[in-house]
C-alpha cells in the first residue's frame, strides 16, 4: 500500500450562529493517493463545499485536520489551487493577465520569459490560446471556466480543488468541458478533488466517488471506487453495464438512503444529461 498523499482525518467544523454553534461536518475521514480523481457528491447544503474549503485552508476545522504530503494545512496556498464555481476571474484583467498574476506569484524566481511561456502553455492546454487578450466579459461562460482552470493548473498545485466547476454551464458545454478535463488529466495526472451535483459527471470523471450524508453534522456515507478503463468515452459508456451499475449505486445512495426529507423542491440532482432539461441555457455559446 502506497503512502497516503492527502489525509483528511477526523474533520469536524462548527459555525457560530445566533442560536448557538451549528455543526456542519462531523468526523470526516478520507485518504487520497497521489494522482487520484475524487468526486464529492451529495444533496445541497450537506457540506461538500465546506470540506473543500477546509482542504483549501480557507476554513479552519474545529476538530481534526488535513495533512498534505506529511504537512498539516494551516492556511490557503497555491499548492492547493481552487477552481471556483463562478470562475472568479478578475474582470479588469485580460485572460492572459489573470493567469499571469498567478504565475508571477507562484514562480517568482523564474525569468520573465519563462513565466510568459508558462502562462501561454497553460492557456493553450485549455485551448484558450486564441482568447489571451480578451477580457472575461468578452468570452462565454465555458471559456471563462477554462481560463479559471488554466489559472489553477498554472500554479502546479499538489491538489487541484474544483468547486462545482461546471455547475453554471449548460449541459452541452458541460459535456465538452468534462472531455477537456479528462484529456488534461490524462496528460498531467493531477490529484483532484471535485464537487459535483451531477451523477454522470461523477461516474465519468472519478476514480472514487465520495457520497456525503445530509447535514447538519454531515459526514461521508459511502465511497464508491470506479474501476472503468481510461480513456473513457461517454458514448461507449452510455450502454456499458458496469457504468450504469455505478450510476445506479450513486442514485440509490442519494435518493433512497439519504433522500432529502424537507419539502423544498430544490433538489439540484441532475440524473440524466441526455434529457437536457437544464434551465441554465444562458451560456451556450460554444466553449
Amino acid at each position: 500500500m502506497s503512502q497516503t498523499y492527502l489525509d483528511i482525518s477526523g474533520v469536524s467544523i462548527e459555525f457560530p450562529t445566533p442560536a448557538g454553534p451549528f455543526k456542519a461536518l462531523d468526523n470526516v475521514n478520507l485518504k487520497i493517493q497521489k494522482g487520484e480523481f475524487i468526486s464529492l457528491i451529495g444533496h445541497s447544503g450537506c457540506g461538500k463545499s465546506t470540506v473543500l474549503n477546509i482542504v483549501a485552508g480557507l476554513y479552519d476545522a474545529t476538530q481534526g485536520g488535513v495533512i498534505l504530503q506529511g504537512k498539516q494545512v494551516t492556511k490557503p496556498g497555491p499548492d492547493r489551487a481552487v477552481v471556483f464555481q463562478n470562475h472568479s476571474l478578475f474582470p479588469w484583467l485580460t485572460c492572459y493577465d489573470n493567469v499571469r498574476l498567478a504565475v508571477d506569484q507562484v514562480f517568482k524566481k523564474k525569468s520573465k520569459k519563462e513565466r510568459h511561456e508558462w502562462t501561454v502553455h497553460n492557456l493553450e492546454l485549455v485551448h484558450m490560446g486564441h482568447a489571451m487578450n480578451k477580457r472575461p466579459d468578452e468570452i462565454s461562460g465555458g471559456m471563462k471556466q477554462r481560463i479559471g482552470i488554466a489559472r489553477a493548473l498554472a500554479m502546479e498545485p499538489k491538489v487541484l480543488l474544483m468547486d462545482e466547476p461546471f455547475g453554471a454551464l449548460d449541459a452541452l458545454t458541460r459535456a465538452h468541458m468534462q472531455d477537456s478535463l479528462m484529456e488534461i488529466q490524462a496528460e498531467l495526472n493531477n490529484t483532484v478533488i471535485m464537487i459535483t451535483h451531477d451523477v454522470d459527471e461523477a461516474v465519468l470523471l472519478s476514480d472514487k466517488i465520495v457520497m456525503m450524508t445530509n447535514g447538519p453534522a454531515a459526514t461521508i456515507g459511502e465511497i464508491l471506487t470506479v474501476e472503468l478503463e481510461r480513456p473513457r468515452d461517454r458514448l461507449v459508456l452510455a450502454d456499458d453495464s458496469t457504468y450504469n451499475h455505478y450510476r445506479a449505486e450513486v442514485l440509490r445512495f442519494l435518493h433512497e438512503k439519504h433522500a432529502k426529507k424537507d419539502t423544498k423542491p430544490a433538489s439540484k440532482i441532475k440524473t440524466d444529461v441526455k434529457k437536457n432539461n437544464d434551465t441554465n441555457n444562458n451560456n451556450n455559446k460554444a466553449a
Binding site: 483549501a56 485552508g57 480557507l58 492556511k75 490557503p76 496556498g77 497555491p78 492547493r80 489551487a81 481552487v82 471556483f84 463562478n86 472568479s88 478578475f90 474582470p91 479588469w92 484583467l93 498574476l101 498567478a102 506569484q105 507562484v106 466579459d137 500554479m155
Partner: protein, 339 residues
C-alpha cells in the same frame, strides 16, 4: 469610424448627438429626424418655455435695484463682462509694453533697466472662474487623498469601520458655513509666513471644500471595498498575495467603479460648497464675484449675478459630465446604464 464616434458619444453621455451622427452617415434618415426631434427638439422647447416664463416673471418683480433682470438684460450683462475682460487684458498688455519701452530707453542711455512690476488690476469675471476651478480641484484632490485610503481601510476592517462610522455620520451633514469660521481661524493660526505662496483665503476655501466633499468618496469607497466578491478575496488568499499586491492588484481595481461614483458626487458637492466658501472667505473666485456684486448694488448687479448663476451651473454640469465619462470608462459592466 461612425461606430467609434457613436461609442465616444455614449461614453461621454452625449447620447443626444447620436442621431445626428447617424443622419450624417445616411442611416435611415426619417427615423433619425424623428429621434433628433425627440432628443434635441424637446429640450430646446422646454428651455424656450423657461425663458418665456422667466421674462414674464422678471417684469413683474421689482426690487430695490430695479426690475429683476430678464433673459435679455442678463445676456447684455454677459456681453459687458466679456468686454470688461477684453479691456482689462488690453490694459495689462499696454502696462507691460510701457515698462518695456521705458527700460529700452534706459538701456539706450546706458542706465540699469528697472525691474518689471506685475500688473495689479482687479481680476475679471473670467479670471475668477479659473480661480474657482483651481480652488475646487485643490480641495477635491486633498479630499480624495484622504477619503480613498480611509475608505479602503474601513472597507477591509469592520472594527475600524464600526469605530469611524459614527464620526463619519456626524460630520457628513455639516454645512460648509459651519466649518468656515473654524477653518479660517485654524488657517490663520497655523499658516503664518511672511511670504505666502498662496493667499490664506485660498487655503481656507479649499479646505472647506475638502471637509465637505470627502464624505461621498469615503462612504462609497468603504461600500465598494466591503462588497468585493468573496471569491476574489479567496483568490488573493490562495495566491498568498501580500497586502500591497492585494490592495493594488485586486481591492482597488475591484472597487474602482464605486470609488468613481463617490468622486463624482464629491466633486458636485465641492463645487456647490466652494461658492459659499469663497463668499465668506473672500477668495477671488465666483463666490466673491457674487458677493461683491451684491454689496455693490448697482442697477447691473442682479444681471451680473444671474450670469454667474448660469456660469456656475454650466461648469458644474461640465464637471459632472467629465466625472461621468471617467466613471463609465472604469466600470467593469459595460452594459450598465450609468446616468
Amino acid at each position: 469610424m461612425i461606430n467609434s464616434s457613436i461609442r465616444f458619444l455614449e461614453l461621454t453621455g452625449m447620447n443626444w448627438l447620436i442621431p445626428l451622427v447617424n443622419l450624417m452617415a445616411g442611416r435611415n434618415p426619417k427615423a433619425q429626424i424623428t429621434e433628433l426631434f425627440k432628443v434635441i427638439g424637446v429640450p430646446i422647447a422646454a428651455f424656450a418655455i423657461f425663458l418665456l416664463l422667466w421674462s414674464v416673471a422678471a417684469k413683474s418683480i421689482v426690487t430695490s435695484l430695479g426690475n429683476l433682470p430678464g433673459p435679455t438684460q442678463t445676456w447684455a450683462q454677459f456681453e459687458s463682462l466679456v468686454e470688461e475682460h477684453r479691456a482689462s487684458r488690453e490694459k495689462e498688455a499696454a502696462f507691460y509694453q510701457r515698462q518695456k519701452y521705458r527700460n529700452e530707453k534706459r538701456i539706450a542711455k546706458g542706465k540699469e533697466p528697472k525691474k518689471i512690476r506685475a500688473y495689479t488690476g482687479a481680476p475679471t469675471f473670467f479670471d475668477q472662474i479659473f480661480t474657482s476651478l483651481y480652488t475646487v480641484f485643490f480641495g477635491f484632490f486633498i479630499a480624495t487623498a484622504i477619503a480613498i485610503p480611509i475608505g479602503i481601510i474601513c472597507g477591509l476592517n469592520t472594527t475600524i469601520y464600526t469605530g469611524l462610522n459614527p464620526l463619519i455620520q456626524i460630520f457628513r451633514p455639516v454645512s460648509p458655513l459651519a466649518w468656515l469660521p473654524i477653518v479660517t481661524m485654524v488657517v490663520s493660526a497655523v499658516y503664518t509666513t511672511d511670504d505666502p505662496l498662496v493667499p490664506k483665503s485660498f487655503i481656507t476655501s479649499a479646505l472647506t471644500v475638502t471637509l465637505c466633499s470627502l464624505w461621498p468618496t469615503l462612504i462609497n469607497t468603504t461600500v465598494g471595498v466591503s462588497s468585493i466578491d468573496r471569491d476574489f478575496i479567496n483568490v488573493c488568499r490562495v495566491l498568498q498575495l501580500n497586502w500591497i499586491n492585494k490592495i493594488f492588484k485586486v481591492v482597488l481595481p475591484a472597487s474602482l467603479p464605486m470609488i468613481f461614483t463617490g468622486l463624482r458626487l464629491s466633486l458636485g458637492v465641492g463645487w456647490m460648497v466652494l461658492i459659499a466658501a469663497e463668499m465668506l472667505a473672500q477668495n477671488p473666485g465666483l463666490g466673491k464675484f457674487v458677493w461683491d456684486e451684491f454689496q455693490n448694488g448697482s442697477s447691473n448687479s442682479l444681471g451680473r449675478i444671474l450670469v454667474a448663476v448660469f456660469v456656475i451651473g454650466c461648469i458644474g454640469f461640465l464637471l459632472d459630465r467629465i466625472m461621468l465619462t471617467l466613471q463609465k470608462s472604469v466600470s467593469h459592466d459595460k452594459t450598465q446604464d450609468i446616468r
